[in-house]
């Protein structure tokens, strides 16, 4: 079995879960394995029944200690399930929780770890993956020659899987927690999600840099354009350091990596640290009054001009196109 591991969600299975389905399917044929899923949480019912439309078997692992996510109880639960099912691969989404779960699982299973992968293939008993390295400047192919293998899958890269022909079965599995798994106590949870589309999920990202002028410039220029496009809002490190925008919006080396279809950089100079967070976008647009700004070297379309003069008519034109 190739086991995808996810958390129970109130709304049921989400986009990242279905990306894991298609990532696992790319390995299923070559490894001669079927795809299964494990849903962990206080109440995994809905997410589990959603996933049963996509995979052969779904394991519901219910325990109060599995809510909210903490890496240690998750590691124990998944470890027990891998032992029980003889799973040959474990796949998790490489969000922050997945990136803390996957290494723990690899250590506990004494298994190789393929981290933050962007493609997968299997040949006999080996699994190969591509991933970005050196601040996303390099694409690396990495191979694991032993199974089981633990894989964290980069979000928003694999397509969303289609439902399978026949519905799968749903089974309960014990959480198999160890003593001490609950020692990390979580409180005061805050969601950074605003009303706007989340940066990592956005098909279009509009980012403002120092050239936007000040915090008000975001409200005047960046946000209206983002809303007209149904886009997420990003910011450069300089902008976050200046306190104009929250860290959750930072794109770049120390912030988020985004790969949207369209990335608009407004008043962004294009420091390497910023480019490493967005240079895999399909189409890049730059607006900057400095014609020598490095951002113009990586853009598909650019306007050399003042954002204050260019962005409002651009917003109007976008609204017209979309209406």
């Amino acid at each position: 079995m190739l086991l995808i591991v996810t958390r129970a969600r109130e709304g049921g299975a989400g986009k990242s879960d279905l990306e894991l389905v298609s990532a696992a399917r790319t390995l299923a044929g070559a490894l001669g394995q079927e795809v299964g899923a494990a849903v962990l949480g206080a109440d995994p019912g809905k997410t589990a029944s959603d996933l049963a439309r996509y995979v052969g078997t779904v394991y519901r692992v219910a325990a109060p200690e599995l809510e909210p996510f903490r890496a240690e109880p998750f590691t124990s639960a998944v470890h027990a399930l891998v032992e029980r099912t003889g799973a040959q691969a474990v796949l998790v989404a490489a969000g922050r929780s997945g990136q803390s779960l996957a290494p723990r699982l690899a250590v506990r299973l004494d298994a190789p770890l393929l981290e933050d992968v962007t493609s997968l293939s299997a040949d006999g008993g080996s699994v190969s993956a591509t991933r970005f390295t050196y601040l996303t400047r390099v694409t690396e192919t990495v191979r694991a020659d032993a199974l089981p293998v633990v894989i964290s899958v980069k979000p928003n890269v694999f397509p969303v899987g289609e439902p399978a022909g026949a519905a799968g079965g749903v089974e309960d599995a014990p959480a198999a927690l160890r003593e001490g798994d609950g020692r990390v106590k979580s409180s005061d949870r805050r969601s950074a999600k605003g009303g706007r589309v989340a940066l990592e999920d956005a098909k279009i990202v509009v980012t403002g840099g120092r050239g936007v002028g000040d915090a008000d410039g975001f409200g005047r220029l960046v946000e209206p354009l983002a809303d007209a496009m149904g886009a997420g809002v990003g910011a450069t490190r300089a902008v976050v350091d200046a306190g104009w925008r929250p860290y959750a919006e930072q794109v770049g080396q120390t912030g988020k990596t985004v790969t949207p279809d369209l990335y608009l950089a407004l008043g962004v100079s294009g420091a390497v640290q910023h480019l490493s967070g967005m240079n895999r976008s399909k189409v890049i647009v730059a607006v900057n009054k400095d014609a020598d700004a490095p951002i113009f070297k990586v853009c598909d379309y650019g306007i050399v001009g003042d954002v204050n003069e260019v962005v409002p008519p651009l917003t109007d034109a976008v609204k017209e196109h979309r209406s």
Binding site: G95, S100, R108, P112, A144, T254, V310
Partner: protein, 260 residues
């Protein structure tokens, strides 16, 4: 647990973010590249020093030890940490290609030998773009972890932190010994002063070998490295701002087909 805390701060030395990374014959060529201490790890050094200086006074810091696992050049990162104020350094010197899980096993063995209570390490390494090291060290030691940490205080025999989650942040309480991964927002790392740079030259920097810590083998192999840059159109749209903006919208809709 005693009230004094021994801190290990794990460091890497990585290509400068501005450096031009090249690949030749399927492998990254780092010839002529400038190396620096990994920025994410630097927050850990700074935090260790702040804890020692009484940023949170509930526990005293016995010692701050900078640890690096890697080739000879990593010594420079350790010298930087010593110049910032770390008490001494341990360099497990090796040219072996170890993946993060194998590295974690070695670093866990160093932590056991040192009797460390708290390990600080960057949230993501800027060479392998890997966020695995902190979690793998924690699991190797059987310790709890606070990852992507933006606030940290030591209280008695535990830690209080705030850290980033998938969709926001939360406060954590965890017992020592523990691993904390550091990131931007935790602090502003200091610059070493000239007198401290001079002083650092006399601080202990112990050289150790991989074999002394069990020499685990990597379970993954890097098969190929390539620079993949997308060809960009580089089309500049001229004209008055209003006119250029309209033309840009048209290009995005009709040519690039990214506006729907």
């Amino acid at each position: 647990m005693e009230d004094s805390v021994k801190i290990l701060t794990i460091l890497k030395q990585v290509p400068d973010a501005e450096a031009r990374v090249r690949a030749q014959d399927g492998a990254v060529d780092l010839d002529g590249v400038t190396f620096v201490i990994d920025g994410m790890d630097e927050y850990g050094v700074e935090e260790a020093l702040r804890l020692r200086e009484g940023g949170s006074a509930a526990a005293s810091v016995e010692e701050v030890v900078a640890v690096a696992l890697g080739p000879q050049r990593f010594e420079e990162a350790l010298r930087t940490a010593l110049a910032m104020g770390a008490d001494r350094a341990v360099h497990v010197e090796t040219d072996a290609a170890l993946d993060p899980v194998a590295q974690a096993q070695v670093l866990a063995a160093v932590a056991r030998e040192e009797g460390a209570d708290l390990i600080l390490v960057g949230g993501k390494q800027a060479d392998w773009d890997s966020a695995a090291l902190g979690a793998a060290v924690a699991e190797s030691l059987g310790w709890p972890l606070s990852d992507w940490t933006t606030e940290l205080t030591v209280e008695g025999d535990g830690l209080r932190t705030r850290h980033d989650t998938d969709d926001g942040s939360e406060a954590l309480e965890l017992p020592l010994p523990a691993v904390v991964t550091t990131q931007q927002g935790l602090n502003e790392p200091r610059y070493p002063t000239l007198p401290n740079i001079m002083k650092a030259k006399r601080k202990e920097l112990a050289k150790r070998t991989l074999e002394e810590f069990g020499a685990p083998a990597a379970k993954t192999v890097t098969v190929r490295q390539e620079i993949q840059t997308r060809e960009r159109l580089g089309k500049l749209v001229d004209g008055e701002p209003e006119e250029a903006a309209r033309e840009l919208a048209r290009l995005l809709a009709d040519e690039a087909k990214v506006l729907s």
